[in-house]
Amino acid sequence: MSVLSSSPPLIVKNLRKVYAGGVEALKGISFTVQSGSIFGLVGPNGAGKTTTFRIIATLLKPTSGTAIVDGVDVTKSPLEARKRLVYVPEEVGAYRRLSGREYLEFVVNVYLSARGASRSEIEQALDEAIKLTGLSEEKLSQKMLEYSKGMKRRVQVAWALAVKPRLAILDEPTSGLDVEASYELRRVIAEYARRHGVSVLLSSHNMLEVEYLCDNVALIKSGRIIEMGAPREIVEKYGARNLEEAYMAAIRGGGE
């Protein structure tokens, strides 16, 4: 079912984005997400994380530079790129008049049909997505209008992983969630992605979460990557006790 390829799930090269009003959101960033790994893009608000994600998800067009998802240039072949990725935005919404189950049926069917999956593969992915939500049958039958933010996020992350894309982009997946919901969601991402080799690109303001989940991290500030590497390497480089301290040192000291 998953699209097998020898290309890395994501190669971003010199990505630059200038919005119509003249704001330069990205000033030429480059990074690569290796197969089966979890990559964290972290930085302050307005640093360019969401712009990067939206370019990769084919929602925005870069001013220059490239984003290659599983060997496919997102600007040249957006539809092909979309067959290889799933994007879960930070401000996660929901079709209020659909039940959780109906929503999962819709997105899983659309995504996997486009990838040419068989009926049984679609059914299997749907079952898996339902399991990953951790929601009861009763809750899944309710309209999403009645869902809490945490439940909506669980539904989104569940299908994003269950369809086993080459790249799952999760923009601040635990933002605004309580401790228990965040913990559960982190566990699902870590366990499922690693077990099934789904590569994940995520952002978060919670450095403990990033340290726990990510194999590699890029620190982005004012549209530029100011630090990149494994969390442990970054912590050691700044002589910090944890990633949060290293992040603060990098943000205060480096870049603009």
């Binding site: 919005y19 401000e91 919404g93 989104q156």
Partner: protein, 393 residues
């Protein structure tokens, strides 16, 4: 005080929505732009009243000497008032129309002070308003020209598209046709409202990013949304029309639909309103892309439907019912409504043109959906407005 504060907050929120501003400004621009057409229409009506440019025959078949003298007097009196009128002795008014006369006033009978005429008018589809105004103007002029004591009675027939219509029939059918043109609003309002809201709802429910990042073409998204909006609005329109039919039926009003329209005509009419509705859905979706809220989207739908008022209105005031006008958006239903007069071919041409316009709008929408504007629509509008404000300063 509290009410004032609440009202002020509501007005600020409403008037800061670009789509609401557009909804306010558009009618002013639109109706002002129609002024030249109204001017032309009033000139047409004036010309019809004075029988300007009309070649008129006052005729009788084997008249008696007294009748001949009366008709010659009438013709001469008309000429004195600038009408190109002449007395002709003929038995076939239709042949006179074929031989260059625009109007033939045929004497039927005279008895004591009663005079009876039949007016035959060579009608013009492109000047239907003038055609319909002529019989009344002619009889008015004849009454003035005839002896004031005479009791003039008349009937009128119009030769149009190779058919001889009684004036009453043609006039009724014209009214029904225009009404059928306006009846499209029963589908245009829900179609545009739903079309605009479909994108607005995605934006408001924050589902647009996920939808647009799914591996489906944006054209498929546009088509599925348009078909959904169209299906629901067809149901709404059918419900409204059935309700109105019941209302008219219980009031004993017969619109004469089955009398005037063959099943084929009604089929073209249904196709015409479907094409108009599809066009409205597409336009509403295009405009709705730039609305940041559902309120903005709803205002956007008004912007789309407002212009639909124009064609029936302009046709009512005398815009020529020509093929050129038929290709304008929102004219198909009027042409289909008037198809017994204009001919099915003209109605089909208007419907085909409307369907092509809907297709063109779909292509524009699909292109827009592929572009960044689909994602950043309201932000783009905001940036443009900011830039305008900066320039003004």
């Amino acid at each position: 005080m509290t009410l004032r504060l609440l009202l002020s907050k509501e007005l600020k929120s409403l008037l800061r929505e670009p789509m609401v501003i557009a909804m306010i400004v558009l009618p002013l621009v639109m109706y002002s732009a129609m002024a030249p057409f109204y001017g032309a229409a009033s000139k047409q009506a004036e010309a019809a009243a004075k029988l300007k440019g009309v070649k008129l025959a006052v005729a009788a078949c084997h008249p008696r000497a007294m009748e001949k003298a009366m008709l010659e007097t009438i013709a001469s009196s008309l000429r004195a008032r600038g009408v190109n009128a002449s007395y002709v002795e003929a038995c076939s008014p239709l042949r006179l129309l074929e031989h260059g006369y625009d109007v033939v006033v045929m004497l039927n009978s005279t008895a004591a002070t009663k005079v009876s005429f039949t007016v035959y008018v060579k009608g013009s589809v492109s000047k239907l308003m003038k055609t319909l105004a002529l019989p009344g103007s002619v009889i008015g002029q004849i009454r003035v020209a005839a002896s004031p004591a005479a009791n003039v009675t008349s009937r009128a027939y119009i030769v149009l598209n190779g058919r001889l219509w009684s004036f009453e029939d043609l006039n009724n059918l014209y009214g029904v046709g225009i009404t059928m043109g306006y009846a499209t609003f029963f589908i245009l309002f829900p179609a545009a409202s739903l079309g605009a809201a479909l994108i607005g709802a995605e934006r408001e429910e924050r589902t647009l990013d996920v939808l647009f990042s799914l591996p489906v073409s944006r054209r498929s998204i546009a088509v599925s949304k348009a078909l959904a909006a169209l299906s629901v609005s067809v149901l709404a329109a059918v419900s409204a029309l059935a309700g109105l039919y019941n209302m008219f039926h219980s009031m004993g009003v017969n619109l004469g639909i089955t009398r005037y329209y063959a099943p084929g005509d009604l089929g073209v009419y249904v196709a015409a309103i479907a094409a108009e509705a599809l066009f409205a859905v597409m336009l509403a979706m295009i405009v709705g892309l730039f609305a940041s809220t559902m309120r903005g989207a709803q205002s956007a739908s008004m912007i789309v439907v407002f212009p639909a008022i124009v064609p029936p209105m302009m046709l009512m005031v005398g815009l020529p019912l020509s093929l050129w006008v038929a290709v304008l958006p929102y004219t198909a239903a009027v042409y289909a409504g008037l198809s017994p007069i204009l001919g099915t071919r003209m109605a089909l041409a208007a419907t085909a043109a409307q369907a092509l316009e809907a297709l063109a709008a779909l292509l524009v929408l699909a292109k827009l959906l592929e572009s960044e504007a689909a994602v950043t629509g309201p932000e783009t509008v905001k940036r443009l407005l900011q830039r305008l404000r900066r320039r003004r300063r």
